[in-house]
Symmetry: C2
Subunit: 250 residues, 2 copies
């Protein structure tokens, strides 16, 4: 399993990904799911991946190969972000189809899902979630994040915290809390956690961090959040149970 | 969709359920998913239901019918809670099989999942989750709750708060917070929220509440929790981003 999240705020973009992959419960490995494309002209891209590892590796390889060989289209040649999303979608679909017939009849799922984010000079910084079918949706002010993989455990905190005016640092912190809730509930999501901050119009990456399981900050965050949630819970108003005798059977 | 949760603590049991059902997004209805069985001797049971509404209604009907007709087994005649769980599982399987052939080939899923909780005099109060296949698992001290339906959004708060020594009132409050997170993220889970408290060895229900969407307490809880989570988030330690220039492309 995987958990990746990308957040768009007024100041820029934040990306976070876990690094655990599993093929069955007895084959756990560590792979980065965050791929950076920079030094390719007036633009930067980040790709987050979930799903079949062979497919996502093949997609990243082809994106790099197309750049190197100047095959059209490629991430350097596309004019707008939306065309980059279309291109990644079609590369993904092609790679899935390559192995689909071999996988047919087995329980192997060759599909993969991506989040593509970045900025091309003159355009706005954006994030897209690209479905296995190759189509995609973009995050907006009303829905300022996209998630792939094991998305549900970490969603409530994003809904409560992230707004367009949230700072990049707070958005990165929220991504980490969201990751913490997910790791706690799903054993197949795990560190190292990679975090990347992109500041609007910079056209290069701003800050990056890779937090391993024994990272003191990650450990402090986990225990602080646990304590803070417990404290917040204790301060909630109690329901007035007096006069609510359960005497009337339905 | 549905969200139901049952919690077992040293003081007794807590049950909570939403009341929204949907057959497609344009057919939303309100049905209680909490069924009480009491005044049947030295015992009480609560059944929470998720899944196919026709199946779960048929199961509840048959449980009541068997009680009335003194068919064997029934909820009055079983000696131990585990036999009650076995009985409910077999009734469920029977009702699903009745309609399975008619539903075959359609996209209709006749399966249903249940949580059965309660106590029989001389035994311990317990909760069981009963799978569509009729088998079941019980909640324990290490895993002091069971959920059915849309379970993921509301799981992190249960993991953080519920312990065997948690009071019944706090367990009920935690169930409500868990319900609040779920309703916020899944539009097909909704009020009225029913909550039932069973105090260990009482052999009758202690407290019950039905909270509608406009219930002042439910509204206060939602806004208080939102504010408390935001405040807790604000107090978290920030990562030290200085010296983490993202200069080295991978």
């Amino acid at each position: 399993m995987t958990y990746c999240v990308a957040i768009t705020v007024n100041e820029g973009l934040v990306f976070a990904s876990d690094s655990r992959t599993n093929a069955g419960v007895d084959q756990l490995s560590t792979y980065s799911k965050m791929f950076r494309f920079e030094d390719i002209g007036d633009r930067v891209f980040v790709l987050l991946t979930a799903g079949n590892l062979a497919t996502s590796q093949a997609v990243v390889s082809q994106l790099r190969h197309d750049l190197k060989q100047n095959n059209e289209p490629n991430l350097r040649s596309v004019e707008h972000l939306i065309q980059a999303a279309e291109y990644v979608g079609s590369v993904s679909l092609g790679q899935q189809q390559k192995h689909q017939s071999a996988a047919a009849g087995s329980s192997i799922d060759t599909s993969a899902t991506f989040i593509l984010g970045g900025q091309i000079a003159g355009g706005r910084a954006k994030i897209f979630m690209i479905y296995p079918e190759g189509n995609f949706i973009s995050a907006t002010g009303e829905n300022p994040y996209q998630q792939i993989g094991e998305i549900k455990y970490g969603k409530p905190i994003l809904d409560r915290i992230v707004r367009p005016e949230t700072s990049l640092e707070d958005a990165a912190l929220c991504a980490l809390v969201s990751m913490d809730s997910t790791m706690r509930s799903n054993a197949t999501v795990g560190p190292p956690i990679e975090v990347l901050i992109y500041r609007d119009n910079a056209l290069c990456f701003d800050r990056t961090a890779t937090l391993t399981a024994d990272d003191p900050y990650l450990q402090a965050l986990t225990s602080n959040w646990e304590a803070a949630v417990n404290k917040a819970f204790t301060a909630l108003p109690q329901y007035d149970w007096s006069g609510t005798d359960a005497g009337d059977p339905k």
